[in-house]
């Protein structure tokens, strides 16, 4: 029945001069989501630092779930717009409230925000009058409860008109995608890195994804799983790329060259090198991983610090302080849980040293990296990456590299 949505913006009060840019990014993302749904016949207007979407006919059921994936949105409120006159507002309130089943008992309250002070009636009085109209219509079925009501009817009186609503959806919050810059997210098939990506989408990062494919040590089934995860993470982005980087040869070389207990950490080290190389080519400013402090041997403070030392770019680790259980809970929010849980082959466990190094010899590490820069091999594997592009409509296509 609703033909209007009010979209409140998160954290905008922080962004003085950058506001127009933030609104532009958010508007663009909302429009892309509508395009993806094939939703036509609507306008989007900025009204007092919030967006109002006006649809010609009631919007589809898919609109709200799509908007829940847009970073930067605080709340999404289906509203009925009316002229700012008390009788009209009453009528709108009754319509928004809907029908009640016989015998149904509900506690409620009316909450009014009178942003337009030209409206002659104070907000408390507006609430009282609207509440009275509801009590009169549903005699005996409603009870006013100010502190913890079952339903809240909201009235927003603005210079552009009055908006009446009685439900709202909590958005992703954070910052519009693209406003925080471009990063390379190193993706695996597990739980952590997809959640890390979700969190960085929430903080407004545009992302390109790097997956290090250990073919032929693992099969292409793993890649299929990664494509599924990529498809999910792309829902939070405005079109993005996945670089499937052939890494089997490098892993084999490393495994043969280094001491066995250093295998895992050096696999990561050279992934960081390759990711930096990719970041340089794509002009991305940071890397992102799913590291959580102490979770595995390569994620100790010492090893993380050492990996940082050899990275030209900052490595973002949004999960560093999260417990596994919290990460898994977040993966359900990000909707990556059900894909991550599918078992897959991974070359790290195949090559896994019997005793991975926890306190590495940093001298050996430094010498190894100096003696084996593998520049050519790294350049080659990044250049030979298969590039999958996912546009706003969710369609995957293979792309030629642009560098």
């Amino acid at each position: 029945m609703y033909k209007q949505l009010l979209i409140n913006v998160d954290e905008l009060w922080l962004k003085g001069k950058n506001r127009p840019q933030y609104f532009k990014a958010l508007r663009q993302h909302i429009q892309l989501q509508m395009k993806r749904l094939g939703q036509k016949g609507y306008t989007i207007k900025n009204r007092n630092q919030r967006f109002v979407l006006n649809f010609e006919t009631p919007y589809s059921d898919h609109v709200i779930p799509a908007l829940l994936k847009v970073a930067g949105i605080y709340t999404i409120v289906p509203v009925l717009e009316t002229v700012s006159e008390i009788d009209a507002i009453k009528e709108a309130a009754l319509e928004v409230w809907g029908d009640m089943k016989p015998g149904e008992l509900v506690t409620f309250r009316v909450s009014t925000d009178r942003a337009d002070k030209r409206f002659p009636m104070p907000s408390m009085e507006i609430s009282r009058q609207i509440g009275g109209a509801l009590l009169k219509k549903f005699d005996g079925q409603l009870k006013v409860e100010l502190r913890k009501p079952q339903r809240i009817l909201r009235v927003r009186v603005t210079a552009f008109g009055t908006y009446v609503s009685c439900t709202e959806y909590e958005g992703m919050g954070g910052l519009p995608v693209g406003t925080s810059g471009h990063i390379i997210t190193m993706l695996s098939g597990g739980f952590d890195s997809p959640v890390a990506s979700y969190l960085m989408s929430k903080r407004g990062c545009r992302q390109s994804f790097a997956f290090f494919h250990a073919f032929p040590f693992v099969g292409d089934e793993v890649k299929e799983k990664l494509l599924q995860i990529f498809g999910k993470l792309a829902e939070y982005q405005m079109g993005c790329e996945l670089y499937v980087i052939p890494y089997g040869e490098i892993q084999k070389k490393l495994a043969k060259l280094c001491k066995e207990e250093y295998r895992t950490i050096f696999f990561r080290q050279y992934m960081v090198f390759a990711s930096n190389l990719l970041a340089r080519k794509l002009k991305a400013r940071a890397l992102c991983t799913g590291d959580s402090l102490g979770q595995v041997s390569s994620q100790t403070l010492g090893n993380m610090g050492e990996l940082n030392k050899y990275s030209d770019r900052i490595i973002l680790r949004p999960l560093v302080g999260y417990n596994k259980r919290e990460i898994i809970a977040l993966s359900k929010v990000a909707e990556t849980h059900d894909i991550s849980i599918i078992p897959h082959d991974d070359a790290c466990s195949l090559f896994a040293p019997k005793k991975p190094i926890i306190r590495p010899d940093f001298g050996y590490w430094e010498d190894f990296v100096k003696e084996n820069p593998m520049s050519e091999e790294l350049e080659e594997c990044v250049n030979n990456a298969q590039i999958y592009y996912l546009d706003h409509s969710g369609k995957v296509s293979l792309r030629e590299k642009t560098f």
């Binding site: 032929p216 040590f217 099969g219 495994a255 897959h344 082959d345 991974d346 466990s349 195949l350």
Partner: protein, 373 residues
């Protein structure tokens, strides 16, 4: 490219290809049609059937039904016994088109026999045979390549219970091992054209006795009412041409295959960490299964694939994803080794030079992967 997965399916022989082309051009009419051309097609079809009748000594009471696949033929036989009360004797070591039909039957009717080391034990099959409705055996197992003594087994079953239906899946063995196809104790056989160089999409169900056998499909009542579907005469014609040719040549081809098999086994036995399985048993020379110890065979398979050599594994899982193979469990192979099984299977047309190249490539790959051991 070196293709060594003939046990999965084989490329078509020139003879079969020529026959398929010719028949597709000329024998396009429907053999069920009443017109003159249809009658000619029917005659052609019966000529094809006669070839199989001769090989299997199918008499008045029996017939050969051309099916879409051996899976269909196996299913059709087992489906006849859904309503019975007797026991169903089959093995999980055999092809899924046999093993997976178990879901049709009440569990208490099932008598799964093992094939420890790849060979069945007659005593196990004969247990409770007096109440048996149907017993199914494979002439050659598709994983081990072992040639089972199905003729003697059929006789033992029939002596104990003449009412039991004996069905032999001969897909991997037909024209690849010596066998007495006229064996009077066997009631039915299933065959597939594509395993012997014929076209895909055609198989045969050889019935020594058609009593009580019903069509699996409802339809036009083709194939004497035993298989409704428009008869794919070009494919059947091609299948038959290939079989006719092999009737004359297979003895010599099998002898050659024995030599090729010995050559491969010799090479593989010299590789450190490689164990040739089921060696020394009565086997089809065309199938060699090995264990790649210490390295998942799918890793070896993909590395060989990168060098354009195609072999197969029993399961697609390696280091992390566990999953025991029901086939290998039934052969009593330790489950820790399931992920190490690699199957190399060649065909009549595979020249020795290809196998030599295979050996070179395999040695390189195996050496390259030795760091994983």
């Amino acid at each position: 490219m070196i293709y060594l997965d003939y046990a999965a399916t084989s490329p078509m022989s020139e003879i079969a290809l020529d026959a398929l082309m010719k028949a597709s051009r000329e024998f396009y009419a429907n053999p069920a049609a009443g017109h003159k051309l249809g009658k000619a097609m029917q005659a052609q079809l019966e000529k094809c059937r006669q070839c199989f009748n001769d090989i299997f000594s199918v008499g008045e009471k029996g017939t050969v039904v051309f099916t879409g696949s051996a899976t269909e033929a196996n299913n059709q036989i087992l489906h006849q016994f859904i309503k019975g009360q007797g026991t169903i004797h089959l093995s999980r070591a055999d092809h899924p088109s046999i093993a997976n039909t178990a879901s049709w039957f009440r569990p208490e009717r099932m008598r799964f026999y093992q094939q420890a080391g790849g060979t069945f034990s007659p005593a196990e099959i004969l247990a409770e045979i007096e109440n048996c409705d149907v017993a199914v055996m494979c002439l050659v197992n598709n994983t081990s390549g072992i040639r089972q003594n199905v003729e003697d087994m059929a006789r033992l079953i029939k002596e104990a219970n003449p009412q039991a239906w004996v069905h032999i899946d001969a897909v991997q063995g037909f024209m690849k091992v010596d066998c007495d196809y006229t064996c009077p104790w066997v009631d039915s056989w299933s065959l597939a054209a594509h395993k012997i160089g014929g076209p895909k999409g055609v198989g045969a169900l050889v019935l020594k006795n058609t009593k009580n056998i019903k069509s699996f499909l409802k339809g036009g009542g083709q194939e004497g009412g035993l298989r409704s579907s428009t008869v794919p005469l070009p494919a059947i014609y091609s299948f038959t041409a290939q079989v006719e040719d092999l009737r004359a040549t297979s003895q010599a081809l099998i002898k050659e295959a024995d030599k090729k098999s010995d050559f491969l086994k010799n090479f593989l036995n010299q590789q450190k960490g490689i164990e040739v399985l089921f060696d020394g048993q009565n086997k089809s020379p065309f199938i060699i299964s090995i264990l790649t110890k210490g390295v998942s065979s799918d890793i070896v398979m993909r590395h060989l694939g990168e060098k354009e050599v195609m072999v197969s594994t029993s399961s697609a899982c390696s280091s992390r994803v566990k999953g025991d193979s029901a086939v290998l469990t039934a052969m009593k192979l330790d489950s820790s080794l399931h992920k190490n099984l690699l199957r190399i299977s060649f065909g009549y047309q595979t020249p020795l030079s290809e196998l030599e190249t295979f050996c070179e490539v395999f040695a390189d790959v195996w050496e390259d992967l030795s760091f994983l051991l």
